[in-house]
C-alpha cells in the first residue's frame, strides 16, 4: 500500500523525517516550515508570497512600486504568459524626433483581441444598468463559450455580447427585458433576439420562462412606488395570470397594467405614459391589458390592501 501511494505522490513532498504524516506549519516571518510534533525546522528559506510593498492609497503617490501588476484572468483569456514591454520612461527612450524608440505594442494577443474587446464592451454595458459582478462574469463565460465554438462567427460581436448579457441576467434569476438591453447596447432588438435564439441552440441550454414577478421590484422602484403598492401589483399580476384573464399577453404588459391598477388604487397615482416609459411598453398596450383585468379588479387586489381610491372608482379606459 505504501508503494502505490508513493507512485501516486511522485512529486517531492516536504515532510518531517520523523513524522511523515504531520502537516507542517508555516512560519512566514522567519520563512520556515516547522513540524508541529517535534519542532524540527524542515524547510527553510521558503519564499514569501505576500506583497512586496504595503501601498496605502493617497493622492498623487509616485509610481506604484509593485512589480507584479494585476491579477491574471486565466479563465477568460488564452492564459498567455507572454511578456509585454511597456513604453519607456526617461529621456533615453525617445529618439531625436520625439518618437519613442521601442514601438512594438501592437500584437499583444491577436487571437483574443476580439474577445478582450467584447469583455470591455460587456463591462461598459453592464455598468450602465449597474449589474453586479456575478452577472458580468457569467456573461463573459457565455461569450467565451460562444466565441470558441465559432458557430456564430458571422454575427457582430456586440450583438453576441448583448445576447449573452440577456441570457446571463435570465440565468441568474433577474431577467432584463430585451428593451432594457437595447437601451444600453447599439444593437437592435431584432438582432439581439436572433442572436439569443442562436446562442441557446449553440450552447444547447435553455432558460426559464419570464414571469410577471421578475420585473416588479425594478419597475416599482424606478417609479418610486412604496412597498405596499409593489406588493399589491405583484399580487394582482400573479392573480391575473392564474385566472387566465390575459391569455397571450406578454408578461411585461401584464406587469405594467398591474402596476397601473395598483398605483391608481393607492395614493401614488402614476399615468400610463410614465409606466410605459419605465417598462418599455406602449401606453396603448397597457390600456389593452388593463381593459382585460379591469372587470375582475375586485378579486385581484390582495385582501389586506389599503385603498386610497376604492375599486369602483378606478379609472376605466
Amino acid at each position: 500500500i505504501l508503494k502505490t501511494s508513493r507512485q501516486i505522490n511522485s512529486l517531492p513532498k516536504v515532510q518531517c523525517p520523523n513524522h511523515p504524516d504531520a502537516i507542517l506549519v508555516e512560519d512566514y516571518r522567519a520563512g520556515d516550515m516547522i513540524c508541529p510534533e517535534c519542532g524540527l525546522v524542515v524547510g527553510d528559506r521558503v519564499i514569501d508570497v505576500g506583497s512586496e510593498w504595503r501601498t496605502f492609497t493617497n493622492e498623487k503617490a509616485t509610481n506604484d512600486p509593485s512589480r507584479v501588476g494585476d491579477a491574471q484572468n486565466p479563465l477568460l483569456n488564452g492564459g498567455d504568459l507572454s511578456t509585454m514591454i511597456s513604453k519607456g520612461t526617461g529621456a533615453a527612450s525617445f529618439d531625436e524626433f520625439g518618437n519613442s524608440k521601442y514601438q512594438n505594442r501592437r500584437t499583444m494577443s491577436s487571437a483574443d483581441r476580439a474577445m478582450l474587446n467584447a469583455f470591455k464592451e460587456i463591462t461598459t454595458m453592464s455598468d450602465r444598468i449597474n449589474l453586479p459582478r456575478n452577472i458580468i462574469d457569467r456573461t463573459n463565460n457565455l461569450f467565451k463559450q460562444v466565441y470558441e465554438q465559432k458557430s456564430l462567427k458571422g454575427r457582430s460581436n456586440d450583438a453576441i455580447a448583448s445576447a449573452c448579457l440577456y441570457i446571463a441576467c435570465r440565468q441568474e434569476g433577474v431577467p432584463r427585458t430585451f428593451k432594457e438591453i437595447c437601451a444600453v447596447s447599439r444593437i437592435s432588438k431584432k438582432e439581439i433576439g436572433r442572436c439569443f435564439k442562436l446562442i441557446l441552440k449553440a450552447l444547447e441550454t435553455s432558460v426559464d420562462l419570464i414571469t410577471t414577478g421578475d420585473f416588479m421590484s425594478r419597475f416599482c422602484s424606478n417609479l418610486g412606488l412604496p412597498k405596499q403598492v409593489q406588493m399589491a401589483a405583484t399580487y394582482i399580476a400573479r392573480k391575473a395570470v392564474e385566472l387566465d384573464l390575459v391569455p397571450g399577453r406578454s408578461p411585461i404588459s401584464v406587469a405594467a397594467a398591474a402596476i397601473y391598477m395598483a398605483s391608481q388604487a393607492s395614493a401614488e397615482k402614476k399615468t400610463q405614459k410614465e409606466i410605459g416609459d419605465i417598462a418599455g411598453v406602449a401606453d396603448v398596450t397597457i390600456r389593452q391589458s388593463y381593459r382585460l383585468i379591469y372587470p375582475r379588479a375586485a378579486d385581484l387586489f390582495p385582501p389586506d390592501f389599503k385603498f386610497d381610491t376604492p375599486v369602483d372608482k378606478l379609472p376605466q379606459l
Binding site: 430585451f178 433576439g193 439569443f196 441557446l200 435553455s206 419570464i210 387566465d244 391569455p247 397571450g248 406578454s250
Partner: protein, 289 residues
Amino acid sequence: MEQNNSLTPFPQGLASPPGAMTPVMPIFSPTMRYNTGLTPQPVQNTNSLSLLEEQQRQQQQQQQQQATPQLYHSQVSTTTALPGNTPVHTTPLTPMTPITPATPASESSGILPQLQNIVSTVNLGCKLDLKTIALRARNAEYNPKRFAAVIMRIREPRTTALIFSSGKMVCTGAKSEVQSRLAARKYARVVQKLGFPAKFLDFKIQNMVGSCDVKFPIRLEGLVLTHQQFSSYEPELFPGLIYRMIKPRIVLLIFVSGKVVLTGAKVRAEIYEAFENIYPILKGFRKTT
C-alpha cells in the same frame, strides 16, 4: 437489412449517404413504389438528429401512454382522403408493416390543416431581358435599384412571381400544388408570348404553409417546459410558440388561441403528418378553465 448498402431499391431522393444528417428511415410517401419490401427498421445510426427523433417520439409516447400514433397508418389514411388533389394511388400500400403492432388507441384528430401558401421554383431555361418584360407585360413591376427581379402578378390563380434575368422564377401565393404549377405555367406563357424561348424545366415545390385550429386554448408555458429541446417560446419576441418538429422536419407556430400554423413542408403529407403528431401533445396541454 443493410439499408446503407443496397441503395438501388430505394426511390430517388431517399438515399442517405453515411454521415448525412437525414434520418436513415425512409420517409413513406405516395411516390414510393409498391413491393419495395421495405419495412421500417428501428434507427441504427446514432447521429444527433436521429436521437432527437427518438426523443420526440418517446415524448409523444409518454404523452399518450398508449400506442404511438401510427405515423404510417395515418399517412396511408390521409393520402387516400385528400380533397382537391388527384390521388396518385387509390389503394393503400399493402406490404407496409408498422413498427409497433396493434391498432392505435387514439384516433386521428379529424381536423385537416388547410394549405395557405405554396412557394415553388421553375427554370424557364433562357436568359431574360427584364426591362422588356417589365415594359410590355401587364401587372409587372421592376425596380432594379430595390430588387433585381420583375414582380409579376396574375389574378387566377392569385399568385405573385419573381422573374430573374437568369431565367429562373419563383411563384408564391398559390393554395394548392396543382394551382401553383398552373400559375407557373401561366407566367411562363406570358414570358413566351413576349418573345423569349421559355421552357418549363425543374418545377419544384419548395415550401408549403398550412394552418388549422384545434378549437381549444393551449397552455404554452406547459408545452415549453416539457418539450424544451424543440420549443422556443419568448413572449417578448413573438406571441406564439415555435415548435421545430424533427420528423417530419416542420416548423409549427402554436398560439394560445389554439390556432396552429405549419410550414417548411415539401409535400402535403408532411403537413398532415406533423399535425397528427402534434395534436395529441396539444390535447395534453389544453387549458381547463
